[in-house]
């Protein structure tokens, strides 16, 4: 079953939240999932739900319940959520901004580097920033805290 088999009018999201925000707003996606590390770079978004807990257990922050779509996914999955969740969010946004296979491949590589950066920061005591191709950035601190800063101006396809 394709990820977008049932078309949803994007107008209901008021243009906010990125790809992940739109997915989280849909009842059928308000459950645990994570991108497969081997997801196909030719398609946008996760291929199959995984075992890692994300949407179902991450506290989206004050004022935003699981039954209410966050107006900005960065507010819902920004500070100090698990590093893997931050990397996942960043990769989803990156893929939603990608416009060719080269770009999408780079999003995937950045996701892997981001996850490695999280482990590295914890073990080495060195903070690591992963900068995704769309300009989104994940900051991973040695104390386990983290921030995801979405891109304000993702690169557009050259004309």
């Amino acid at each position: 079953m394709g990820l977008f088999d049932d078309y949803v009018d994007p107008q209901q999201f008021n243009g906010g939240g990125g790809l992940l925000g739109r997915l989280l707003a849909l009842p059928q996606f308000q459950r645990s999932f994570s991108p497969d590390a081997s997801f196909n770079s030719t398609s946008v978004g996760p291929q199959t739900p995984g075992n890692a807990v994300y949407a179902g257990s991450v506290d989206p922050g004050p004022g935003a319940g699981l039954d209410q779509a966050p107006t900005n996914v960065a507010d819902a999955a920004n500070d100090n959520h698990p590093a893997d969740a931050q990397c996942t969010t960043a990769s989803y946004d990156c893929l939603s901004n990608s416009y060719d296979n080269d770009y999408a491949q780079a999003c995937r590589k950045a996701y892997l580097a981001c996850r490695a950066g999280g482990s590295f920061a914890l073990s080495s005591g060195i903070p690591v920033i992963t900068n995704f191709p769309d300009g989104g950035r994940v900051v991973l601190h040695p104390d386990g805290t983290s921030q995801y800063i979405p891109s304000r101006n993702p690169p557009k396809q050259p004309r």
Binding site: Q105, F120, P127, V128, I129, N131, F132, V139, Q147
Partner: protein, 106 residues
């Protein structure tokens, strides 16, 4: 480009033109050694690097790298390594960026 990340400021990905020509090998070697401890870095091939010093950041080491199991990319992958307070180092890994490749060593 403003590279301020909440909780951790970072130097720009592009060099600022204050190339260091001496007293830099220890810092560069330290950065290279750190990068090599990344799990995914075993698939990275470091290329051109550049070290700078400026008033705000102190020593900043930048290196472009390619990812060995990837198709040739038309984007730049770059590592930035810089000093932070208390004598520590921070690292930024930028993948698939629209940057100008670092110049060859003069």
């Amino acid at each position: 480009m403003d590279n301020h990340a909440e909780g951790l400021e970072s130097p720009p990905l592009e060099p600022e033109g204050n190339v260091e020509t001496s007293d830099d090998t220890d810092f560069a070697e330290k950065c290279v050694a750190l990068v090599k401890t990344f799990d995914v870095a075993r698939n990275w091939q470091l290329g051109r690097s550049l070290i700078e010093r400026n008033e705000k950041w102190g020593l900043v080491w930048r290196a472009d790298f390619s990812i060995l199991d990837s198709e040739p990319q038309f984007r730049v992958n770059r590592i930035v390594c810089w000093e932070i307070p208390a004598g520590k180092i921070a690292i930024e890994i930028a993948i698939g960026q629209g940057l100008t490749p670092l110049p060859a060593a003069s």
